[in-house]
Amino acid sequence: MKNKIILAMAATFALGSTAAMAQDPTQIVYIGKNTGNPYFDSISGGFEDACAALNCEYQFVAPATAEATSQIPLIEAQIQRGVEVIAIAPNSPDALNQVLDSAKAQGILVLTVNGDLVGNESHRDATILPVDFTKTGPNQVELMGSMIGYKGEIAILSATTEAPDQNTWIAAMNDTLANDAKYKDMKLVATVYGDDQPEKSTTEMEALLANYPDLVGVIAPTTVGIAAAAQVVQSRGIADKVHVTGLGLPSEMRDFVKDGTVSAFQLWSPYNEGWLAVHFATGVLDGSIKNEVGATFEVPNLGTIKIDDLNAMNTQAELTTFDVNNIDEFDF
């Protein structure tokens, strides 16, 4: 009896929500890696502005920690809320497979934004990446090399050991260092993980300096890591000896660039990822964009976007390099 009442209530709610959905604007949710990560504020800003322009409803959610399974309850919750589009920066390349499948089974458009399910691409509909990530590793190694005269011991300060994007880049960096003769005098001595937490990243950076007294460069391909590394170098006053570069946010790195702690770093526009994701999603939902490899479509401010192999899209061709000359032009 009790069960029947609950079921009846559930049915009422379910019906109620479907009826409401039909009139509401498209609901898009973006699930970040974790909260307190300014990088995602910028992506989220792109989502927000595009949703304001295209009349959809947008929300950003993220778990407290970036561990592999922490996004699962959030995805379940969005399925239950009946959103039309789930965009996610996955914390794991495969722990989300099952729950993303059930989202797709409900007819939800599943996009990975700013990171992909490497090797498990069938569990999402499309991916939006800022640049061709196979070029990120070599680009970063080249920038590092140009700063240290292509010689000496270097280290990598990464995010979590599981992060798929980080691991793709680190693998490419290793590959470039090993196979390109230009970098034969550069030696990668350590790869450490700051878990995208400022404190842990600082500790790992201090440990690098203590363990490798001959270290001349640190590549931190994560915004939290590069800021922490730059902070350590700045407070110790060793910018002439240890060169820090990586992927950083202009807003966070501006002071370090202006006082000479960091001479150059790279990134793309995270804002454009959100902007593109919304234009793509609404286009697919209203039928004006076909989610097929080889298809092209126009996005305001970004130009023509082409859907590449594995349904991947990039917002820009190459990484943008920020230094003292251009950093004031960027405000994300």
């Binding site: 709610f13 699962i72 309850p73 794991s92």
Partner: protein, 332 residues
């Protein structure tokens, strides 16, 4: 569920004053958990119109079912006056050993056997340290909490190990519309509840936890009871680890990371006394639902993780104050 509640013994050292039935019911800590559960359901329904859907609640419970099952056995360990903080790490290590074995070509039944035996062995090691060498269980199991997790990472590395397709999806197995992990949780709760409340063995567990010396003088083999409980906890943790592997479709070293806190939280919220001698399976049973309801309700309402953590913390403090108050009243 009701049968469980009424058949449980109340452990009071002083002769019981005569109380009417409703007074007895009111001063049970499980009553508080039950009231909080009702408040939780009402609160969550008010927070989000998408919450009150029995299928969604059941599906969300499956995400915590493995940890809830272990928490039931942990409740018995705590009642016996000990604690085991290594259970979540045990889940990870036994799952990793299982996955490693099947990847190395062992037939599935054997690989499952490896996982279960490993869990049993880990429980046995804890028992050896705590009961054999008379070391405090909190220290021993903090040690094994770290060691088991570390070993899991040594075995699995930073990669995840896939499991065969037929093994995936225990949470999608439905019996009468209820996910299998939830059914298992209820069945195990009933069995353990009966053992604890209606058997001599169960009464002896309470006596060992209330006063071990007195219990031993009364002829209770306290060591044998504790060893049995640690072994059972080890085995059940391994089963929970395999269930998690089946739900996620892959195994990684960080399965159930931080799960030990959730387990202890469930036991405490259910009115189990941290120093032993008091508590019930019904309490932990209700507390598991309470925890899932509260966190699911907040997640589906897209509340910030910071707010969620705060609410859970406050909930625990309220529960402990109430439990303490109720027990001190009951002893008068």
């Amino acid at each position: 569920m009701n049968a469980l509640g009424t058949t449980e013994p109340r452990m009071t050292s002083a002769p019981k004053p005569v109380r009417s039935g409703w007074q007895t019911a009111l001063i049970r800590p499980e009553t508080m958990t039950f009231v909080l559960l009702i408040i939780g359901v009402i609160g969550a329904s008010m927070l989000s119109p998408f919450f009150l859907d029995i299928n969604y609640i059941l599906r969300s419970f499956t995400l915590s079912a493995e940890i809830a099952i272990v928490a039931l056995v942990l409740t018995m360990v705590i009642i016996a006056g000990e604690i085991d903080l290594s259970a979540a790490s045990n889940m990870a290590l036994s799952a990793c050993l299982f996955a490693f074995a099947q990847q190395a070509g062992l037939p599935m039944p054997l690989a499952i056997g490896v996982g279960l035996l490993a869990g049993l062995a880990m429980g046995g090691f804890n028992a050896l340290m705590v009961v054999g060498l008379q070391l405090p269980s909190i220290i021993v199991t903090i040690g094994t909490l770290i060691a088991y997790r570390g070993l899991a990472q040594v075995i699995a590395g930073d990669k995840s190990i896939r499991v065969p397709d037929w093994f995936i999806g225990i949470n999608n197995q439905m019996i009468l519309g209820i996910p299998l992990p939830v059914i298992l949780f209820v069945l195990i709760a009933i069995v353990l509840g009966l053992v604890l409340s209606a058997t001599i063995y169960g009464r002896q567990i309470y006596q060992v936890g209330t006063n071990e010396t007195a219990a031993r003088h009364a002829g209770i083999r306290s060591k044998r009871i504790k060893v049995g409980l640690f072994l059972l906890l080890g085995l059940v943790s391994a089963i929970a680890g395999l269930m998690t592997a089946s739900r996620l479709g892959s195994v990684r070293y960080d399965i159930a990371l931080g799960g030990e806190l959730q387990m202890v939280l469930m036991a405490m919220l259910g009115g189990t006394y941290i120093f032993g001698g008091r508590g019930s399976i019904l309490g932990t049973f209700l507390a598991a639902w309470l925890l899932v309801i509260v966190s699911t309700g907040m997640t589906v309402a897209n509340l910030l993780p910071a707010i969620q953590l705060t609410v859970l913390g406050i909930l625990l403090i309220v529960a402990i104050i109430a439990t303490n108050f109720i027990y001190s009243r009951a002893q008068r």
